[in-house]
């Protein structure tokens, strides 16, 4: 399963490295959203800094939808989905591989968005371990739930509009918990109250990775 996962992840990441769609389309949109948030909230540093954790995770959340759509768009052509199914690769391996690929893309995106936020909004992380742990858990959760719904809506004619409707309410707890945890890490709240939110992020990530491993087989058959 893990070997298959590595193969699929390597395939997806190689395609992204060569096509650079994530790099030149998804990433700029995420950074652009920071500028748009500033327009919406006004140029006052205090207001932007107070809203920073939430805005950061909103940017990541919407980018997740784009990344997941992209992850399944590269499989829509040339019968890739059937190819994957026929290749004898474990469905759980396909799932984990796609989750790893999407999670790595999101991790890169978070680094860039965070750098942009530091420059544009003037905010700094006070408790790095909390920010990093929250990010890792949230990213795994976002990628796992995103890939499940991506597979669910892949191949449908209405996938572009259906995916956000399906996946955004499911990801809402991640947005909530990750924003609060980051507020703690940025010292808008206390560190202990921020760390408490890891108790949401951890179980969410575990739950959706397990569900994906179990249900990805039946899901692939519906494509």
């Amino acid at each position: 399963m893990w070997r298959d996962a590595c193969l699929v992840a390597a395939k997806d990441l190689r395609i992204e490295l060569r096509s650079r769609v994530a790099l030149w389309q998804v990433l700029p949109v995420a950074v652009l959203s920071l500028v748009l948030y500033a327009f919406a909230l006004g140029p006052g540093r205090a207001a932007l800094a107070a809203a920073a954790p939430g805005l950061f995770w909103l940017a990541v959340l919407f980018s997740t939808v784009l990344a997941v759509q992209r992850s399944f768009a590269i499989e829509s052509g040339d019968g890739t989905r059937d190819g994957l199914r026929l290749s004898g690769i474990d469905p759980a391996g396909v799932f984990l591989g796609k989750v790893v690929a999407v999670a790595l893309e999101l991790a890169v995106l978070q680094v860039v968005v965070w750098a942009g936020m530091t420059v544009l909004f003037g905010v700094h992380v006070r408790t790095p371990w909390l920010a990093i742990v929250a990010s890792v858990l949230a990213t795994i959760g976002l990628a796992a739930a995103g890939v499940i719904y991506g597979a669910l809506s892949a191949g449908l004619r209405v996938r572009e509009t259906l995916l956000p409707l399906l996946v955004l309410p499911v990801l809402a707890p991640v947005l909530l918990a990750a924003s609060r945890a980051w507020a703690g890490a940025l010292a808008h709240g206390t560190v202990s109250s921020g760390a408490g939110w890891l108790r949401i992020l951890g179980p969410f990530a575990v739950a959706y990775v397990v569900i994906g491993i179990v249900l990805y087989g039946p899901l692939l058959e519906t494509g």
Binding site: L152, L156, L176, R180, S193, I200, Y208, L215, L219
Partner: protein, 264 residues
């Protein structure tokens, strides 16, 4: 599989359950509006207590519980049958209506009691998210596909959404407690329950449960009939096409008929 072919309960059972639901709802309305006294603190507002909790109970526990169990039984290979898929779909559809009603009756209550239509209370927020989650399920269901494919897809969607429910609940509860938000819910909702009030509330639960059962049974029947009608239309269309071909063949080998495409 034999159950999947039937169209659920007989007309008579449906009528009996429907009648019982109608009578109990009417009795709840009568008792709730005319017989029970107004509350000391809340006055006539308390009458919503006969409606709001029973509706919420149906929406949050009965409907989505039934949908989750049915979806699980569909995915389980040994119990796989379109019966479970249709039952889940019916439960979700009725559940969405009841969830919307829960929110509406809740805001109607909230405005005079708390002074606002909406508060970011944990229960309100998680109920609203639940509504959107299952609207997504219904949207997915409307995507045309073969019955088996659609059933599998929807069963997965229902289960994945269902897992989210406790997580959503805990996250918004913590969100509230950490933010010192409105703790007004239940602060003044514990009136000393008068005897007739307790009975009316109990009747309200029975009435809404019966209404739910009746609506799900009816919805299930519609689901089966719609599938059968779809098959029937397909058969008629196929028969028409075959007869066109027969007409073409019997028209002999005159090429003009073929090129105009109008064999009659």
């Amino acid at each position: 599989m034999t159950r999947a072919k039937g169209i659920g309960w007989s007309r008579r059972t449906l009528a009996v359950v429907g009648g019982a639901a109608f009578v109990s709802v009417a009795a709840t309305v009568w008792l709730g509006l005319w017989v029970t006294p107004p509350d000391r603190v809340q006055g006539n507002l308390v009458r919503l207590v006969y409606l709001h909790p029973p509706v919420a109970w149906v929406a949050l526990y009965l409907a989505f519980g039934l949908a989750a169990v049915s979806s699980l039984l569909y995915l389980w290979k040994r119990t796989r049958s379109l019966f479970w898929d249709r039952l889940a779909a019916s439960a979700v559809e009725v559940g969405v209506v009841f969830t919307a009603l829960t929110l509406i009756t809740g805001t109607l209550w909230g405005r005079p009691t708390w002074g606002v239509w909406w508060t970011w209370d944990a229960r309100l927020t998680s109920t609203a998210l639940l509504l959107v989650l299952f609207l997504g399920y219904l949207a997915l269901r409307r995507v045309p596909a073969e019955a088996e494919v659609r059933a599998k897809r929807c069963a997965v969607a229902a289960l994945v959404a269902f897992v989210d429910v406790p997580i959503v609940h805990f996250s918004v509860v913590w969100w509230q407690t950490l933010h010192q938000g409105a703790t007004v819910l239940n602060a003044n909702l514990t009136p000393t329950i008068h005897g007739s009030m307790a009975w009316t509330l109990l009747l309200g639960f029975v009435a809404m449960t019966l209404l739910f059962v009746w609506m799900v049974a009816l919805r299930y029947r519609i689901e089966v009939l719609a599938d059968q009608a779809g098959d029937a239309v397909l058969e008629v269309t196929l028969a028409e096409r075959w007869s066109e071909d027969d007409a073409l063949v019997s028209a002999g080998d005159s090429p003009t008929h073929l090129s105009t495409g109008n064999p009659t």
